[in-house]
């Protein structure tokens, strides 16, 4: 073969493949419009969160100081004051809810994902959990009212139980999903080495699925921290710091609910500041969920 003749005339332009971008060609236009739409939708979806945070910082930021974070709620015409007891109350009740729902949720998920995934009981439990995720939160309050409050009165414990009812399905489903992601060849290997079921769960399934499980737990905690309806029926409110678990207890969400409807400027300002704190707590748990959910190599 002879060498390529570089001096040969360039073929006619019409015969060359046309590679340049054509904005107004039909498919390109369709593609462009759809891409723009998804962009717009993504931005639109982020507006509520950012506008809420913006408004809270503007309205509540001014009152957010050490006094607001530690002092007790003010009475009618008082100035100053804060919501320290509500922050503590929210954290205590979310803590109680976590203590109840995390162990039960993870153990239930172990059953659903590993021990009896195809059993009848698993099918029922999964269905119940999925239904409960869409459960109106106020009904969790009514339920706890019926089983605890009628007998023992309003308390932090009852508040924690009602939040646990709401957290449980989220944890069960997220933890089951996380454990199902553990590849079967990994569990097979462990069984192949002579592990019992317990050893496989404890040494392989739980550690490998841990980031996903923690993400579910954090999201459930974040959701529970912001709940108000169930607490109305269970923990009520208190103007003092919590001293025992069996007494009515303050929470941020109920404080916001109460103060925002008051005719006093001071209380309304505190409601804004408390909203900001609540959003920051929820945000912190969400960010934590993202951090622990990141795959580690």
């Amino acid at each position: 073969m002879s060498e390529l003749d570089l001096t040969a005339s360039v073929p006619e332009e019409a015969l060359m493949p046309h590679l340049e971008r054509q904005l107004f060609e039909r498919r390109a236009m369709k593609n462009g419009i759809l891409t723009a739409l998804t962009w717009a939708a993504a931005i639109l979806g982020s507006i509520p969160l950012f506008s809420v945070i913006y408004m809270l910082v503007i309205q509540g930021g001014a009152r957010l100081d050490l006094e607001a974070l530690t002092a007790l709620p003010p009475a009618g015409f008082e100035s100053g004051g804060g919501f320290g007891n509500a922050i503590v109350g929210t954290l205590v009740m979310v803590g109680i809810a976590a203590l109840i729902s995390i162990p039960i949720g993870i153990l239930a998920a172990v059953y659903l994902a590993v021990l009896g995934p195809y059993s009848k009981l698993a099918g029922i439990a999964r269905f119940v959990a999925k239904t409960l995720t869409g459960f109106p939160s106020i009904l969790a309050g009514v339920f706890t009212y019926a089983i605890l409050v009628i007998a023992f009165g309003y308390s932090a414990l009852a508040g924690g139980v009602s939040l646990a009812v709401l957290m449980l399905p989220t944890i069960v489903l997220a933890a089951e999903e996380a454990m199902k992601q553990v590849p079967q060849r990994m569990t097979d290997t462990a069984f192949g080495m002579g592990c019992t079921h317990t050893q496989v769960i404890w040494k392989v399934v739980l550690p490998t699925g841990l980031p996903g499980i923690l993400t579910g737990v954090m999201l459930a905690v974040a959701g529970a921290a912001g709940e108000s309806a169930p607490l109305l029926f269970t923990a009520l409110f208190s103007n003092y710091y919590i001293s025992e678990l069996m007494e009515p207890t303050a929470s941020l969400s109920i404080l916001i609910y109460n103060f925002s409807a008051m005719p006093f400027e001071n209380q309304i300002e505190l409601a804004w500041a408390a909203s900001l704190v609540l959003v920051l707590i929820v945000l912190a748990f969400n960010i934590l969920a993202r951090l622990v959910g990141q795959p580690r190599v």
Binding site: Y118, P183, R185, M186, D188, T189, A190, F191, G192, M193, G194, C195, T196, Q199, K203, V204, P207, T208, R296, V297
Partner: protein
Amino acid sequence: MRATAEMIASGAAAFSPASEVVIDCDLQKVFYGDFLAVRDSSLPVEKGKITGFIGPSGCGKSTVLRSLNRMNDLIPIFRFEGMVKYHGQDIYGRKVDPVVVRRYIGMVFQQPNPFSMSIYDNVAFGLRLNRFKGDMDERVQSALERAALWKEVKDKLKNSGMSLSGGQQQRLGIARAIATEPDVLLMDEPCSALDPIATRQVEELMLEFS
């Protein structure tokens, strides 16, 4: 060498260290649900020999292999007719614990699958299961040496097993399986996911063990 590679890559191999029959089996019928996966298969596995199965894919090689250490028990629809004798004992006997069977008859799988823990912990895994009381470091090192992986990982034993290459991961799997010194090692196409060089290393390893 080439022929060996073909044979092992397309089949499954069982080997046992140190010529008596270790496993004698007669699989009359193996079902998955209504599907008859394997019938009328019998073979003796002799001590100190590499026994290989070859056949087209889907013919039941893995099923036979998984029947030899009761891995199939983990599949709920599995049904077994026949017998598998290990040193004369029926491993499907009424009083036999499949978990214990698997401690004597180890297994290496097709895909490399390190646990998400350090290289050291991967190899020590089986030893810890058996509450091994001796010198752990020494056993881990010797297992890695025998799996021809020690030189490559000796300075990064704390790194995750997942950080190794595919071929290294498979050899890590072998090191993990041999650390407990199982009597018999079942290998289900251990080289199918490996490149020719890693395949050769694994094959040389198997020859060394036999």
